[in-house]
Point group: C2
Chain length 446, copies 2
Amino acid sequence: MNIDTLINARWVIPVDPANSNKGNNILEHHSLAIDDGEILAILPTEEAQNKYSAFDEYHLGSHAVMPGFINCHTHAAMTLFRGLADDLPLMEWLNEYIWPAEQQWIGPEFVNDGSRHAITEMIRGGTTCFSDMYFFPDQVAEVAVETGIRAVIGLILIDFPTAWAKDADEYLVKGEQIHDKYRHNSLVHTAFAPHAPYTVSDGSLQRINTLAEELDIPIHMHIHETVDEINQSEEQHGKRSLKRLHDLGLLSPRLIAVHMTQLTEEEIALISTQGVHIVHCPESNLKLASGFCPVSELLQQDINVALGTDSAASNNDLDMLGEMRTAALLAKGITGNSSVLPAHQALEMATINGAKALGIDHITGSLTKGKAADVIAIDLDTIESQPLYDPVSHLVYAANRNQITDVWVAGKQLLKNRTLTTINENIVLSRSRDWQEKINAGKINN
Amino acid sequence: MNIDTLINARWVIPVDPANSNKGNNILEHHSLAIDDGEILAILPTEEAQNKYSAFDEYHLGSHAVMPGFINCHTHAAMTLFRGLADDLPLMEWLNEYIWPAEQQWIGPEFVNDGSRHAITEMIRGGTTCFSDMYFFPDQVAEVAVETGIRAVIGLILIDFPTAWAKDADEYLVKGEQIHDKYRHNSLVHTAFAPHAPYTVSDGSLQRINTLAEELDIPIHMHIHETVDEINQSEEQHGKRSLKRLHDLGLLSPRLIAVHMTQLTEEEIALISTQGVHIVHCPESNLKLASGFCPVSELLQQDINVALGTDSAASNNDLDMLGEMRTAALLAKGITGNSSVLPAHQALEMATINGAKALGIDHITGSLTKGKAADVIAIDLDTIESQPLYDPVSHLVYAANRNQITDVWVAGKQLLKNRTLTTINENIVLSRSRDWQEKINAGKINN
């Protein structure tokens, strides 16, 4: 049988929820058959060799092949602010560095260049899908299409005017236009992205809730990021943010709640009942000292927890392999229990759980027959990941993103033996250097 | 003037304590002149070009050049157990996996091969000096000499017989022999390494204390790693480990206390008064859920805190760049203060503070005229570390160890544009694969 692509691998790690009862479910010497952008079959390599004749065939004899990472919370364009300011209290960081820089520079060109830099970093690091929240989401979508990565474009709303929109009406209209433009695109998905409880009014939230149901798309929002947010909500609304969102009818499987570092037992029970998805951003939460998301308790309550890096301005990278490791280590540290969040569970958080949170687990998130071929290969035959007793252990606790050799999205190869196929890295670097000079000069002038 | 080596760099980051009042002390377009294994001068590249004629000259136009990392706590040979078992409670991990494997396999050949693998990983990751604690330290020393890395060889003592020694007397005699053999070697240093308070008797500790003073070498020991250790000490000795060591006269600037996750305010004051050095191993402490070393409080009391990875069996890598990042992030998270342990301080912990702890800061740990040329270069012109506003920010929060291109120890180049000069990587990998097969077979037979 003639097919597009056959990937023969030392290990195939499907992260398929249907097989989760089989433990880690690591297949040795198996092959992934891909045709028309979809996964056709996973079968022993010997069998595959007899059955298929592929236009492109790969022999990855020391690699693990697995679903691509799904980064559930980014502000991609902020990559241009990477390392602009660190080691500061959150409000000083925002007030004195990030917000002035945003006010000065944000526009279509900034978002276009910054998102392309972020996507370049993400593809090189094995991320095949990201869920973004930023101004000029139309630009993020354009760059996603151009580069071939899968994206959930956040239709942002914030209750103050920006270069992108002047008021709630304009944010919503522009957001719906983007949704309409890409509704038939198989790689560009959309989600409403009201910024946070402290920046979006009840009225706007109710409108978004209605529209999200109509369009059947998720709502992506920062919630319970810091103690200050809770205190402010209690002052202004007489209740904690989560209670307020619940009263407004927002708690449902449509809601993607990012951060959630402040949670009572009752709130965890409520999240579980309402089927809310959580996105854990451990490195950003650590760096900004926001608090700890109680991941282990959430998972015990069968709440779906996915992973995000947050922006490169507060991380300072978009490395899902590293984020997965930090999540696995941190959960053990804060619970005092070294057996919580084991490696295979961390791997689920970085892949299939992300797809579930974004409402696209019928399309991606695992290597399952019929799903899109969003696939990555990691070479484990390096000094840093040998000897090898369990490839999943090394993926989580030892490997680094430079070992990711190949990346496919919907069957199209975006990274080929460490070389990007849809992006000119030198142009990206050159544009970013130009922005750096401008931003630095702006900093000095202020 | 003719010299051996001239390194012209985009940035030189000396981490020189004499210049610490100058803030980060980042020199742009500077050169490092090296002769006879020592740092001769650091000066502007333009000046250096006129002044020196070098046998080897390097133009590192997008690199930061800095002192090599000092990994203050390793069990190098345990790299052969990397990923053998994870996600387990400490005692189950030790009793059911690590100790049986050690009992079955430890011997000169295991330690020789395992240490060479570890050193290969460390050099590739920019570590120029490590302080080891393991059985057959004679083998660790031999491999250090063969590979050219700087090492502090731990003269281990533990109150039970092993393949290395049958009792305290034999441990001490064999340790002293190693000390004597290398006393005139400029790269191999020694330290006594009594394993831990719960495995070494009062008598042995007193003998070590006297010998360490005579030989003028440090004492490297696991102390206050877990709550269990403290509880056991209170039961057996009627006091906490640190108090017991104090009563035995061990608390002094000669003591390198590793882990220290359990500390009262009084104990921190005592450590400060006695000038004890602390080695923080954040990733191992997280992975084994041992507790949190209060790094920020220790630094506030002017206690010297250095960094270690611990073994690759509980980390699971020997990556000091990653360890530095985890330390900087974790300190913020556990204090709830995003301004503690800023990037430049994390860099000091990974370099000069390590040299101080090991008692070799007159020789290494910073780029200072007259010190050994233990130097590394990191290429910062990658997608993952651009744009760039502050190279120290990227070293700590964004760079990964694959960006380390060149490593010199005492002026000798051990890594040249990512290629090892003293080690055959393929032989290392092949030997480790052999061990993996044997260890796996042993696991199944048990």
